[in-house]
Subunit: 320 residues, 2 copies
């Protein structure tokens, strides 16, 4: 059984398609690796890439990609709306199948060491891989950005975990670490009133008293003139999709607004869907629910009103 | 405008009614003080007392009560199911009206100092009044209980905040601190299956991914042969009663179980009720809802299916 991970490297280049094609080339035409998406954002001047595959092959390809990005991206002239500290700003590593969080963390250390040796970019271990408390969250590491890291890295508490305490002249520093799979989930409301979406988001998100693993805010979708509650579910094992969906439906009643559909942005693990389908199919958590991917899609559309959804949104489609 | 607080002292005596009557005597027949409840629990061998009133008068009466408890309760011979470290085990202080949390915290310091001088019992400041991180939660302070405190108090990190680092020979040590108002709220399910209540409690409580300010577990009620989801709502400003109620109702659907009623144990602030009624009356949070207490009771029974509920359960009944 192959050990499958996902990586979601963020590169500080969101405008030049040719440059990004060179950077992601190492993820293409290889056995055991699947390049899922390249999302370029011009105003952020940043690209988010999603890659799935066998752990060692993926991490080796990431080192090749990092070497190219280090050569081609020059942070000294980089401008964009998104905060950044490196050419490869951050590389999250997510265990998907046949590999535990612990094993993934161990792999990170080895990978970060090799990555630093190959690129000469200092590395901070973050999130579940963090070795120091001030490195658990990305904003804490990134504070000061590329321009400020030059001095920050000299402070003892900000010595990097791998590499010298000196930023790479053009590529800055990078953060690498294991994190939970994050589901980007949006719920469409039958209204164009953004205040209603804001009010509902406030009720369901952790920061203001809602569900523990929900981050949420409002969004207005111009094409269709409606609003969304836009969410991250940061640990779907503990806060389920159906809980987010039903909580929004419940809160919307106050405004006489209905939920008309919902959407998953990017990929979703099969388990996150089946766990929620069990609720609607009136099964217990401990019951098994063994469905074909097309059946999962059918039920997810029926119960969670998912739109623009098919098997290719489910991770297991790629790692069967 | 009088500054109103509530205190909920816990005494390590739950069997001897005469002793408890002496201990609570200072709360009786005084202007500006209302003794709300004395709940004695024989198996815990512990009593919980609820007192509301003008801040200085209440705290002075508490010192008198503490002096009596220190004389009458001997921890060396105390046995009960509930963990304890002092004759007055803990005295939570809750701001109710015309007094801020900050002012309450300042009052605690003064009160704790006087209390220690009057009783010679060492005091730990806990919860919002805590001055050291290891004193924020009660279980952390209480670990080792009366028997273990003798040595624990000698450790530098466990020196008390007021008093000598030596326990009171018979009355041990006490914790004093400001905390949020805690609503004890139970929801009755139309089943006698405790596993169902346990499963629902798990879904809604913070510790396993549910709402931020809900603690929950299952309970079986013998008299009526049904189960409850039994909860504490630890910050009703952020997680509302209606959210707990609707979340339980939603989760119960999986089991084809309905919510038949709910109950508030002890007191509830008016605001906690009106905030939830606004949801059912389709008002926004910022809308005002100005109801007489009897109307609040009527609506709360209608929407939250509250049983055994009347105006005397609402704090504002006593502090109009």
């Amino acid at each position: 059984m192959k050990k499958i991970i996902e990586i979601v490297p963020n590169y500080s280049e969101g405008k030049n398609k040719e440059v990004m094609e060179q950077i992601i080339a190492p993820f293409k035409d290889k056995d055991d690796i699947m390049l899922i998406t390249l999302e370029m954002d011009a105003s952020y001047n940043r690209s988010v890439v999603t890659v799935i595959g066998e752990v060692d092959t993926v991490l080796e390809a990431m080192i090749e990609s990092g070497k190219i990005a280090t050569k081609l991206i020059d942070l000294r002239v980089h401008k964009g709306e998104h905060r950044r500290m490196g050419a490869v700003d951050v590389c999250p590593i997510i265990p998907i199948k046949n590999i535990s969080v612990e094993e993934c963390i161990t792999k990170t250390y080895e990978f970060a060491k090799k990555y630093n040796e190959a690129t000469n970019v200092p590395i901070y271990l973050y999130n579940k891989s963090a070795l120091k408390e001030n490195r658990v969250t990305l904003p804490s590491i990134r504070k000061g950005e590329f321009e400020g890291m030059k001095d920050k890295i000299k402070l003892e508490e900000w010595y990097p975990d791998f590499g010298k305490n000196e930023i790479h002249e053009t590529a800055g520093v990078s953060a690498i670490g294991v994190r939970e799979f994050l589901i980007a989930y949006n719920i469409d409301l039958d209204t164009d009133d953004k205040e209603i979406a804001a009010s509902i988001a406030k009720k369901i998100r952790f920061s203001s008293g809602g569900y523990r693993f929900i981050q949420a805010g409002p969004a207005y979708i111009e094409e269709s003139n409606h609003v969304q509650v836009t969410m991250n579910i940061t640990d779907y094992h503990k806060t389920a999709i159906y809980q987010a969906f039903e909580a929004v439906r419940m809160e919307a009643k106050r405004f006489d607004v209905s939920v008309k559909s919902s959407e998953i942005v990017g990929l979703v693990p099969l388990l996150a869907l089946t766990n929620s389908l069990k609720y609607y199919l009136k099964l217990k958590d401990e019951d098994t629910l063994d469905l074909e991917l097309n059946e999962v899609v059918k039920y997810a559309k029926e119960f969670l009103l998912l739109r623009d959804f098919d098997e290719r949104k489910i991770i297991e489609y790629y790692v069967k």
